[in-house]
């Protein structure tokens, strides 16, 4: 499975996608469903699409979004409204048409023989983990989830996780659900109690880095999905590099998922959101 974008057989597609639904799921967070038959058929967990949101004379670079779920001819994207592009995205309604390049990136690429996996999601980091949780539990892998958010309402995709995971533990900054504090408290505990064979993390880089350290101490391999600003999204422009022990790699084609121990945490992540 996986490694779709890498194995010679598969290529990214440029697909005209149509909005099927676009709903607010939390404060400043939306879930958009797109009719994208060819991408839906090819996409693997952890891969993303590079979406052209702007229309008409308006110039705007594409925006990268993980595929949160994929089924039949539909893909779902879970997005947080931050600026110009996601504002426009939030304004899309059923029938609107965009174009998307995808599937892009390496995906989580879970080796066979994994029996128990721990997924750690911080905020919108839940997005690329949704599809993974579904596919793994379908494969009979035991899934534990540690999820964190500012407040309970922002624990996006929590239902999805609860429906497929063996255990979901949460933390919120305001204590409105689960532990008060950071998700790292929960992930640390689950590392001890559940003894997973693999940890997959997505969230703010500072949190991903902390979880990677926990996994390393526990001697558990760890994968992190990293964000970079992306212009082309297909490996050509070198705007998205991540510094690794094997040199600078492109998050859009060599990532966004990396082995935690190869990542040099150089603080080059995207500026903090507001």
């Amino acid at each position: 499975m996986s490694c779709a974008a890498l194995d010679a057989g598969s290529h990214p597609l440029l697909e005209r996608v149509e909005v099927l639904a676009n709903d607010r799921v939390a404060e400043g967070v939306g879930l958009i469903a797109l009719h994208a038959p060819r991408i839906a058929a090819a996409v693997e967990p952890g891969q993303f699409v590079h979406l052209r949101i702007a229309t008409g004379a308006d110039f705007l670079l594409r925006r990268p979004f993980s595929v949160h779920r994929a089924g039949g001819e539909t893909i779902e994207i879970l997005y947080q409204v931050l600026g110009r592009g996601t504002l426009d995205l939030a304004g899309k309604t059923r029938g609107d048409v965009m174009d998307a390049i995808g599937p892009l990136g390496t995906g989580w690429d879970i080796p066979d023989g994994i029996a128990h996996i721990l997924l750690v999601a911080g905020g919108l980091g839940a997005a690329p983990l949704g599809m993974l949780a579904e596919r793994l539990s379908a494969r009979g892998v035991a899934v534990s989830v540690a999820q964190g958010a500012p407040t309970s309402e922002r624990l996006v995709a929590r239902e999805l996780f609860e429906s497929v995971a063996r255990r979901v533990e949460v933390a919120t900054d305001d204590g409105s659900a689960g532990e008060r504090g950071f998700v790292t408290v929960v992930s640390e505990r689950l590392l001890q109690t559940d003894r997973p064979d693999l940890v997959c993390v997505c969230g703010p880089e500072i949190m991903a880095r902390a979880v990677a350290a926990q996994a390393a101490r526990a001697g558990v391999p760890c994968r992190v999905s990293l964000e970079r600003l992306m212009a082309c999204g297909i490996g050509a422009c070198l705007s998205c590099v991540v510094t690794t022990s094997h040199g600078r790699k492109r998050a859009c084609v060599d990532g966004p998922v990396f082995d935690a121990e190869e990542v040099c945490w150089d603080g080059a992540e995207v500026p903090p959101r507001h």
Partner: protein, 313 residues
């Protein structure tokens, strides 16, 4: 921006000749925005391009600048990639081999920190049959030594050009910086030193700040501005340079569609390059080719080269 248009086949002769180089049409890729074309092969028929201009190639591997390396601005973007590339050896062993299997002329974009650097790259490439021409980048705003420094005054610009002229008979295109008081001076200097053509513009030095975090949006603080926002400046400089030099001018800066390309030709360009547009729409180069053909058909233009300098003032 236009949507992908169906391929237009018109009677017009789209071919152009630049510095002894016959191109199928005047539409090239802009260096650094298209890598070597491999990534775009899924979206673009490379054999329908006038030429592929590669990412900048230096004597040794360059790691480029820290991230973030790009920031979007109004009608454009800033980049501070910093000419990251694996060096000329790796280029010859990798991309150049792949390009050899493609039916498209290859223009290698050359960069360096010193005159010697430029010379070493070209000397190494002279052994390679698959190179149609060189584009000498003396205008990159994103490296400290060399780069733009060579492109902002006449003497060094002429010196790099003359040094390269002495080591190659292949067409030498010198890429000029817009960050100068008088670009025609630089153009005349490189023409005098043996350049067969000039391409312009490279990016305008710019900056973006995130008011909320109070931090520059680029790790390097400043970067190169490209995209439709700079088209009026690029067009003006092409118009000025085309009247100042005898060698062909290749126009680049904010070209998004066929009409933009026509504007550059009318201003005096013999060919054009498409850069940032590829990011918004990976098929942009094809739309430009089709748009040019459609324009020629609609206006009864027999040879696209007749448009060069045909501005009615």
């Amino acid at each position: 921006m236009e949507q992908k248009s169906p391929r237009v086949t018109s009677g017009a002769d789209l071919s152009v000749e630049i510095a002894g180089l016959r191109l199928r049409n005047p539409v090239m890729t802009a260096s650094g925005t298209f890598a070597s074309g491999r990534e775009y092969a899924d979206f673009v028929d490379l054999s329908r391009l006038g030429a592929v201009v590669t990412k900048g190639v230096s004597p040794m591997a360059w790691t480029g600048n820290e991230s973030p390396r790009v920031a979007e601005t109004f009608g454009g973007m800033l980049n501070s990639i910093g000419l990251q590339n694996p060096g000329v050896e790796a280029f010859c062993a990798g991309d150049l081999v792949w390009l050899g299997s493609q039916d498209v002329p290859v223009v290698v974009n050359v960069c360096g920190h010193s005159v010697e650097d430029y010379v070493r790259v070209v000397e190494r490439l002279e052994d390679e049959p698959g190179v149609a021409a060189y584009e000498v980048n003396i205008s990159c705003p994103n490296v400290d030594a060399g780069g733009m420094a060579f492109g902002t005054s006449c003497a060094p610009a002429g010196a790099v050009t003359a040094a390269l002229r002495s080591v190659t008979k292949r067409p030498l295109i010198v890429k000029l910086s817009p960050n100068v008081t008088d670009i025609t001076e630089i153009a005349r200097a490189v023409e005098g030193a043996g350049a067969d053509a000039v391409s312009l513009v490279n990016t305008l030095l710019g900056m973006a700040i995130d008011a909320e975090t109070r931090r520059p949006k680029l790790a390097r603080v400043v970067g190169g501005l490209s995209g439709p926002a700079i088209k009026p400046v690029a067009l003006r400089m092409v118009w000025q340079v085309a009247r100042a030099v005898g060698v062909p001018v290749i126009g680049v800066g904010g070209i998004m569609n066929g009409a933009d390309a026509v504007e550059f030709l009318l201003a005096g360009a013999a060919a054009v390059q498409v850069g940032t547009a590829n990011f918004a729409d990976p098929t942009s180069t094809m739309r430009v080719v089709d748009g040019l053909a459609e324009y020629c058909a609609r206006h009864g233009v027999g040879r696209v080269s007749d448009l060069t300098g045909a501005l009615e003032e």
